[in-house]
């Protein structure tokens, strides 16, 4: 039974995983490089790391190292994007993000993008580099419809379930379910008045004096987060919780102005991309482009994203999406919520139709 859960609960093909690899690497190139360039301005007194490598080294990271790690990360992600030495690129991307984050969180605050960071290392063993990649071009025998690597998706779903459960447990064990605690209200006030985030959703929500509303938010948040772990046991329930999560994150965005896009990219691992029916126009446009670049040497293909990332690190000193004035994180949050609503709707509506027919 455990074998069936591990190897067959998420029957995703190499093709599905390869599309996810390209999407993941694209988001990471656009949104996650460079990271931590502000460490240059951080005075030593603010170096107050949690238990981590930074606390063992007990010294801030020289800025040249921050730049070097960013360059190596850009190289890894560029290689991941084109699928060149994919396994090495995947593992090094995770290691480099963890190293950078170790010092980014050295002022004492951890930002919990760990699921996004772990994706490449886990998926390194999935075969996500064996389609739509340079690696695939070099191999003769590849079955793009194989689902052998889908156990990594189960592992990723377990990591997601455990991570969300920890958040729910922290709330459950510190009084969120006590009637009259209004924990969401309390945290919203701190976020609004102390941290200084003032989204319009918070302005609106803080007008609500109905205590049942705030209590319901506390309970639903805890139940949703704790419920994520048992939901891991079946693909259907896990997809249901991922859809809820997408809607949850848009709520957090609207009320707290916390754009938690990294988790949404991580949830995306469970989507069967090759089964999504695209409008004919998209392959019609893409096929000639892909045919043209298919013959390019790997170095040429690597150079394009890598040089863009170098520009982001050394010239723009901000990630590519910011340079392009595209709020990709927010866009992803709203898009994912729309997909979540559509998915939940598609799960509920056929049942109702069936019931109506029976009646």
């Amino acid at each position: 039974m455990i074998d069936r859960w591990i190897f067959h609960s998420h029957p995703l093909t190499v093709r599905d995983l390869a599309i996810y690899r390209i999407l993941y690497a694209s988001f990471a190139m656009l949104m996650a490089v460079p990271r931590g360039l502000w460490l240059e301005h951080l005075p030593d007194v603010f170096f107050s790391p949690p238990a981590s490598l930074a606390a063992i080294v007990a010294a801030p990271l020289p800025f040249e190292y921050v730049q070097l790690l960013n360059v190596l990360l850009a190289l890894s992600l560029a290689a991941l994007l084109i699928g060149w030495y994919t396994r090495t690129a995947s593992i090094s991307a995770t290691v480099l993000m963890i190293l950078l984050n170790t010092w980014i969180y050295s002022p004492g605050k951890i930002n919990h993008d760990i699921l996004f960071v772990l994706v490449p290392a886990v998926m390194a063993f999935s075969g996500w580099g064996e389609a739509y990649s340079i690696d695939a071009r070099r191999r003769t025998k590849i079955n793009a419809d194989s689902t052998e690597g889908s156990w990594t998706v189960t592992l990723m779903s377990l990591l997601i379930g455990i991570a969300l459960f920890t958040a729910g447990w922290a709330k459950l064990s510190t009084g969120w379910l006590d009637l009259g605690s209004y924990a969401t209200y309390g945290h919203l006030l701190i976020n609004y008045h102390v941290t200084g985030r003032h989204p319009w959703g918070a302005d609106l929500a803080l007008q609500i004096k109905n205590t049942w509303f705030w209590e319901a938010l506390d309970w639903s948040t805890v139940l949703f987060e704790v419920g994520f772990l048992p939901a891991v046991l079946s693909r259907r329930s896990f997809l249901f919780f991922c859809a809820l999560a997408a809607i949850f994150h848009v709520g957090v965005e609207l009320m707290f102005a916390i754009t938690f896009w990294p988790n949404l990219v991580a949830y995306g691992v469970v989507i069967p991309y090759s089964k999504i029916g695209l409008p004919n126009s998209i392959p019609n446009v893409l096929t000639p482009v892909v045919d043209k670049i298919r013959s390019w040497p790997a170095w040429y293909l690597l150079a394009v994203p890598f040089c863009c990332a170098l520009h982001a690190i050394f010239v723009a000193e901000e990630h590519l999406a910011a340079t392009l004035h595209v709020n990709l994180g927010k866009g992803l949050v709203y898009f994912a919520a729309a997909v979540g609503v559509w998915y939940l709707g598609s799960r509920l509506i056929p049942r109702r139709t069936a019931r109506t027919e029976t009646a």
């Binding site: 502000w38 790391p49 170790t102 969180y105 009259g180 924990a183 209200y185 006030l189 102390v194």
Partner: protein, 173 residues
Amino acid sequence: MFLAVLGLCVVQVDLLYRVGEPYPALLMPGFRGSGGAQGGYAISDRAEAIFVLRDGGTARFTMPELFAQFPISHYGDLQTHLAPYDEQAPIDRSGLRYRVFPGLHAGKLDRAQPTNRESLRQWMKQRASELLPEAEVERLEVVWYRDTHHFLSGTRQSEPTGSFTLDLQEPQS
């Protein structure tokens, strides 16, 4: 692999209770406790930075304005470096956790150390010159307030709870 993940989870829970939240760890934001909300009101602490100028004038800034060059998620932790504190209070660095992690919470624990105080003074001087390019700044006063937010009336009461002062003039040799 799956068993290793479960094993690592046990290790991280152990670390969590012994040394606080480690990094990396498979954890999501806990938002522990009620955020100061209880029984119809919520309490939050807020700080305001006041640069006192040489001509006696003052310039006030919120913490988000003061820390604008850093990510917003760090403001809450950064402002604890500007909280009132007792310079004579003993620093407890005993226990295995400080032997394994000698830099654990270093900046917060060792605030009174001359090198850290000087580091803060230099950064604050730089920040003052960016925020007030024309002014000669004498010192920084950070005033802390405790805000009580009344749930039903939507009103807020503030009372000062303490202050922290940092001389920004060059020490006389």
